[in-house]
Amino acid sequence: MFLTCKQVSNHLSKEDYAKLSPFRKFTLKLHVLICPVCGKYNQQVMKFQDMARTFRKQEEDFLEDDRPESPHLNEDSKKRMAELIEQDKAS
């Protein structure tokens, strides 16, 4: 019923938190909130997980950002790659 520090750390390291049952999630959160051993450390791990998820959205915006000032392949490289694809198709 109750989780050990090792189990909490394992759930967080595998990032299977979202797949846990509501009760399991509750006990994990409770453990992290009150545990004098792993609580503080694992609270920070969870904060980094939030951070990484938010960053992923930022990264996707960066990848889709097609404004002229964002990084682009130069036209020669694009031409070369398109030719390679055509050659591959023909072969």
Partner: protein
């Protein structure tokens, strides 16, 4: 009953998946992804080219269940891992400090390397809402050693399963966990110097 057109055996995957448009449609997107992972513009460009060629080679295996763009991005991610794995010396993979943490009693019993991490020097929740914070975050991520950065990106940003990362990087799950601990510690120090001072 919905009638579904049977797929022609002769349907050319080049036509079906519009390979002639790949460079125009996905080239810049993939290039930016490669830059995020590999940093060096020339290496990023070469890796995008390798990605297109590898995708053509495996086109017959592509079932179209995901968007071509994300399929290509997955191939590019694997290529980036290959590149980093080749460029990082074996010595770095078997870093003695990491082995030391894995062997500690605390880590063995509780899965954590320390009970007393330092408090945040700033309020992370308030920082998340500010665009400039993510610039700082990106800068700090870029400053991590290549292997550590890659482990963090694969696990925390891409959410690739642990088993897959360990297989790709040829490391144990404990080793990955400690590498992530180091990534977080270094990111925290960097963010505190960049963000708290701002």
């Amino acid at each position: 009953m919905i009638y579904k057109e049977p797929m022609s055996e002769n349907e050319d995957p080049h036509v079906k998946y519009e390979t002639h448009l790949w460079v125009e449609k996905y080239g810049d997107y993939l290039y930016r992804f490669a830059l995020m992972r590999l940093k060096d513009p020339q290496v990023a460009e070469d890796t995008v080219q390798e990605t297109f060629l590898a995708a053509l080679k495996n086109l017959h295996q592509f079932d179209g269940r995901v968007d071509v763009k994300y399929w290509l991005r997955g191939i590019l991610r694997n290529k980036s891992v290959d590149h980093v794995r080749k460029s990082v010396r074996r010595k770095e993979l078997q870093d003695e400090q990491v082995q030391e943490v894995v062997g500690q009693l605390l880590f063995k019993t509780s899965g954590i390397p320390t009970t007393r991490p330092k408090d945040w020097a700033f309020d992370p929740d308030a920082a998340f809402a500010q665009e400039e914070f993510w610039e700082a975050f990106k800068g700090c991520l870029d400053a991590l050693p290549e292997q550590t950065r890659l482990a963090f990106q694969l696990k925390m940003v891409d959410e690739i399963p642990t088993e897959e990362i360990c297989k790709e990087l040829d490391i144990s799950d404990n080793y990955l966990w400690v590498t992530l601990h180091r990534a977080r510690a270094q990111l925290k120090t960097c963010l505190e110097s960049k963000w708290s001072a701002a």
